[in-house]
């Protein structure tokens, strides 16, 4: 069924269709309407799930961790300061190898107080062992949420769906929503490597020899490495079932014959693609490699860009170095041009991208440049 949904309502709809059994979250803008909608669904009896009200984000993730470790499909959502408040549990859930899905509506970090998007919050999860995905549009946020449960449960790692504040979370788009039976056919029953249940007297989080920690991190590193194939497989079979296939860890846009390649992630990719179309019409061989998954990092895909002029457009900055995507991409292919833009939700539209890419193609950008330059000088 085609229906008009905001990004947040689309995520809620996907969680419902995935038959999540336990939901807990603490409200924070711009995430709030996801769990508001889910609470409404539970209250109306449309969704057979337990909705747990909690006093903080730390407790929200702790509650869904408990439910998930007991074998239930569980979901939470947060943003920005909420993520930072639950940060201890972010690592605990991953290290405990507990599959669950969290929506991360990206929002900058204060001060100053600001509810608009950049990717700084999401990227603090980088090293934690979560599978980190990023949606470009409402449909992709919906699809990633359903795929997230399957991928997470297959590799015993938590999964986050990143979607930009307001640009996706509160913007309505037409979404193709499959019916329950179709989702049931595609999404298997919940599975996980272990459960903690009454009658099964096991402990988790107990003291172990130091080697146990090392061995567990090694196994985790292997699991997230293996998740590349799982993600690709899920993308393919989802495509066969629902007609939408994105390309796995990255999406390639007009890369055929491209000498100039832009690497970026998130909602603004749509505007950047429009700018690329305009420049292509003028004959400029430019394309995009859109990062759909930040972890596992698409290193093989990025490697294919060797020998091309690469511009990485970042919405997050690593203080004391460069843009976070910029440094990750340059770790694979060496020097790249890195533009920092849209920090704190500063609007970057099609015209901005067009001007930026023109400057890039005529080699007028600095290696590291905050966009637009005149504002920051």
């Amino acid at each position: 069924m085609r229906t008009l949904l905001t990004g947040n309502y689309a995520v809620a709809e996907a969680v419902k269709l995935s038959r999540a059994k336990v939901i807990a979250a603490y409200p924070i803008t711009p995430q709030t309407t996801i769990v508001e909608k889910l609470a409404e669904m539970v209250e109306k009896g449309e969704l057979d799930a337990e909705f747990i009200r909690v006093e903080s984000e730390h407790s929200a993730l702790a509650a869904v961790y408990g439910a998930a470790i007991a074998g239930r499909r569980a979901f939470t959502a947060t943003s920005s300061h909420g993520l930072l408040y639950m940060y201890e549990m972010v690592w605990w859930v991953a290290n405990a190898r507990v599959p669950l899905v969290m929506a991360m509506v990206t929002r900058t970090i204060g001060p100053p107080w600001n509810i608009h998007t950049d990717h700084t919050d999401l990227l603090t999860m980088r090293d934690s062992g979560w599978i980190i995905s990023m949606a470009e549009n409402v449909q992709e946020a919906f699809d990633l949420t359903i795929q997230g449960f399957r991928i997470s449960e297959e590799v015993d790692l938590p999964f986050t769906v990143g979607l930009d504040a307001f640009q996706l979370s509160h913007t309505a788009e037409v979404v193709e929503v499959p019916d329950q039976q179709e989702v049931d056919e595609w999404l298997p029953e919940r599975r996980q490597s272990y459960k903690v249940l009454p009658g099964n007297a096991v402990t988790i989080g107990n003291i172990g020899p130091n080697e146990y920690t090392a061995k567990l991190r090694y196994a985790m590193a292997k699991a997230i490495e293996d998740s590349r194939k799982v993600i690709e497989k899920a993308d393919n079979s989802f495509g066969e079932k629902f007609g939408r296939k994105y390309g796995g860890l990255v999406e390639e846009y007009r890369l055929e014959g491209a000498e100039y390649v832009v690497v970026m992630a998130g909602a603004w990719c749509g505007d950047a693609k429009d700018a690329i179309d305009r420049l292509r019409d003028e004959g400029l061989p430019i394309g995009m490699m859109k990062i759909r998954y930040f972890r596992p990092f698409p290193k093989e895909e990025i490697k294919r860009l060797e020998g091309k002029e690469v511009l990485v457009v970042d919405r997050a900055f690593s203080m004391g170095y460069m843009g976070i995507f910029g440094m990750e991409v340059s770790s694979v292919i060496g020097d790249v041009t890195n533009v920092i833009a849209g920090i704190g939700g500063v609007d970057v539209g099609v015209e901005d991208f067009e001007a930026m890419f023109r400057k890039f193609a005529s080699r007028k950008l600095q290696r590291l440049e905050w966009w637009p330059r005149e504002v920051f000088s």
């Binding site: 405990a96 007297a201 402990t203 107990n206 196994a219």
Partner: protein, 87 residues
């Protein structure tokens, strides 16, 4: 079972953390004359080292008793005394 799982979760078993009785500085000593077999000590012992035999004999396993003193504290009959360990 996944090979990593054995490092993540633990099933409780006697002595899985070594002979923890070595940690003890005070030792609970049971006085069979004062004891009325209410068995509160058995339920409160966090290490599960107190056992009762034939509804009568209370045995403390000193191999694993850490000497926390909860049994002595909870005993309504003052039938458990904490005695300092000698070298």
């Amino acid at each position: 079972m996944s090979s990593w799982l054995e490092h993540l979760i633990a099933k409780s078993s006697e002595g899985s953390a070594g002979k923890t009785g070595l940690w003890r500085t005070f030792k609970p000593v049971h006085n069979v004359e004062k004891c009325n077999r209410c068995l509160l000590c058995l339920y409160y012992c966090p290490e599960n080292v107190i056992k009762v035999y034939h509804h009568r004999f209370i045995i403390i396993n000193y191999e694993y008793c850490k000497g926390c003193g909860i049994c002595a504290e909870i005993c309504p009959q003052d039938a458990i005394e904490m005695v300092e360990e000698e070298e």
